[in-house]
């Protein structure tokens, strides 16, 4: 018997038990839906991460932190050390970098520059005749993607500031363009001033640019961007005379050339620090996404496993129901192999139907869900669910194979059926 004829007959007998076929394939469909969706979320997540990282980091950049304590067990007391640390609740703490560490980093071969992370707390930002608003300050980093509504980073070195668009109205500007070239005051508290009578000093800055809060920006969103030198000045002003002065959570090292990044990373490691390249950061996040994706796929696989028993059950019932038909076909000379194939192909159809239904539903969810997710998370034009045609086809093919495997036992039962016995059944 030709495979074509067997396939058609298999499809026909499934159509004759529509409800059962659909219910059985729905089980495998749930698995397909979960797997396809998690694969899509995985590739979407990776693409999203890659996008964030490439638009927020410079490939020549390394982020350096002190090596964490070997003994980081929060339940045990820690040895006192004069090195600066930052404590969190629950006995956790991180070591901080000192100025001497920054100098050490500067001496490493092929290092272009080292910028410590300045944590600056300012009191408020205001403009003549306007209210005072709370604000945060971050260092302008040219490798971080910024979407300008007006102006640019030009002139930031000359006491310039880039403000987020949300501050335009608050500071009394009519439009983002109207803010360019105007002065704003950022006030900070002198670090050594007394708690009772804090000395608060306003600093004058000129607005050079207005940026739109980017969906991709992870750091410094919603903060006023100042040049490195200005940030340092503010940092010194707010921390001089306190224990915080001269300590940093980390530092950014810029390599002279991309090719040097890995050597520098090794040298920094030897010097007793931990360095992360943009690549490391990406692979770390990828790993995280992969684990999440793996868990989701695991759930899908569980659903598929359950559906396997469904298929076996359905096919067994089908064999019992069609005992006469099988008997007749064997009496007419259909070989065992072909009878077996008939039932395996029926299982394959169920697998295909389930896979296609599940994948279709997942894609539908993606098409409907992508704009909603993007809107909710303010991602712009980014799709968080990316369906790769080859992956989807691969999943469906895989499920067809699983279904065929599930159909083997019932198919064997059908193939072994004694036609005489089968035709005696009334």
């Amino acid at each position: 018997m030709k495979i074509r004829d067997i396939t058609i007959r298999a499809g026909r007998s499934l159509r004759q038990a529509k409800a059962r076929t659909i219910l059985t394939s729905l089980a495998i469909g749930v698995g397909a839906f979960t797997i396809v969706l998690s694969l899509a979320a995985g590739s979407g997540g990776r693409a999203y991460t890659a996008d964030i990282i490439s638009s927020n980091t410079n490939v020549k950049e390394l982020y350096v932190q002190p090596k964490p304590d070997v003994n980081n067990d929060p339940t045990k007391p820690k040895k006192y050390s004069t090195d600066p640390t930052m404590s969190y609740g629950g006995g956790f703490s991180v070591k901080l970098l000192k100025d001497s560490d920054i100098d050490k980093l500067n001496k490493i071969k092929n290092v272009e520059s080292v910028t410590p992370v300045y944590l600056v707390t300012v009191k408020y930002v205001t403009r003549q005749g306007q209210d005072k608003y709370q604000a945060s300050v971050a260092t302008y980093n040219e490798s971080v993607k910024v979407d300008y509504v007006a102006g640019s980073a030009d002139g930031i070195d000359k006491k310039g500031v880039i403000i987020p668009d949300s501050y335009v109205e608050a500071l009394g500007f009519k439009s983002p363009e109207g803010a360019i070239g105007k002065d704003v005051q950022i006030a900070a508290e002198k670090g050594s001033s007394s708690l009772v009578a804090p000395e608060i000093k306003p600093f004058n800055f000129t607005v050079v640019g207005v940026y739109e809060q980017s969906a991709l920006a992870v750091s410094g969103s919603d903060s006023l961007r100042l040049s490195k030198d200005d940030t340092k000045a503010l940092y010194d002003f707010t921390t001089e005379g306190t224990a915080q002065h001269g300590t940093y959570v980390g530092a950014t090292v810029i390599a002279k050339d991309v090719a040097d990044v890995n050597d520098i990373k090794a040298d920094i490691g030897k010097a007793g620090y931990e360095a992360q390249t943009a690549e490391d950061l990406m692979s770390f996040i990828f790993q995280f996404i992969n684990v999440l994706q793996g868990i989701l796929i695991g759930f899908g696989a569980l659903a598929v496993l359950t559906s396997v028993f469904g298929i076996i059950n359905t096919q067994y019932i089908s064999v019992l129901e069609r005992t006469q038909q099988i008997g007749l076909m064997k009496a007419l000379g259909m070989s065992r192999r072909d009878v077996g194939r008939l039932f395996k192909l029926e299982a394959a159809w169920i697998g295909f139907l389930g896979g296609a239904l599940g994948a279709g539903a997942a894609i539908l969810v993606g098409v409907i869900g992508n704009p909603i997710i993007a809107k909710a998370l303010k991602l712009g034009d980014i799709n968080l669910l990316i369906f790769e045609p080859l992956t989807v086809i691969g999943v469906i093919v895989g499920l067809v194979l699983v279904a065929v495997a599930a159909g083997i036992l019932p198919a064997r039962k059908a193939a072994k059926l004694d036609p005489i016995e089968a035709l005696r059944t009334e």
Binding site: K2, Q325, L328, L332, G333, M334, S335, P419, I420
Partner: protein
Amino acid sequence: MIEVKRVTKTYGKKDNKFVALNDISFVVPDGASVAIIGKSGSGKSTLMHAMSGLDRPELGEVVIDGRNILALKQKEVDRFRSATMSFIFQSFFVQANESCYDNVSLPLEIAGVPVHQRREKIEDALRAVELLDKKKSRARDLSGGQKQRLAVARAIVNNPKIIFADEPTGNLDSVTGEVVEDLLFSYNKRNGITLIIVTHDPDLASKCDIKIYIKDGKIESIKNKSESQQIRTKAPIKSVKLKRQAKVQL
């Protein structure tokens, strides 16, 4: 020619041993119509199964056209059966959910007949049993007599050499039963195929060239129609006219 040589079939073991066929031998010439007659449990169905290679008796030979089908491998028996034999059963065994066309198509598919050759054969077979107008109807919508005619169409579609009919009229009333009988015998005479009917109906048996009486797994007697009649059967006979459709559906 079918030669059945010393076929013995037993069921069970030792104390429960039951001899279904006991040393059966006979010869059926090509184109003959044979009735295997016996009560239920006499072994007549087992004999049919053995002759068609569905069952495998432990002793004896069934030689069809010079080949002992009991010595063939399962695959070869399947192929042989699909190419040379077909069956008609008491309870029709037509596939209720399938159209008449698809029902008749099954033996062709099993025999691997190319798609483009099928339509003509199927339509010829349906025409022969006067069901061509029903080719798209589902088999479940047919009356009993029509179902058995459909089974006849399925049996003749691939031009078999031998048709086995197991109580073909057992589930039919006498009028529709006669229509099916006429169909089978006319096909037997016209195309020179061998017709082997298993039955306990003496009227049906009396229409056959050879009557083999089976009792308790043994041949009780073999009766041939008179020589003159047998010779007459070799001559072409005009097709037996079907009874009117209305009558069939009574």
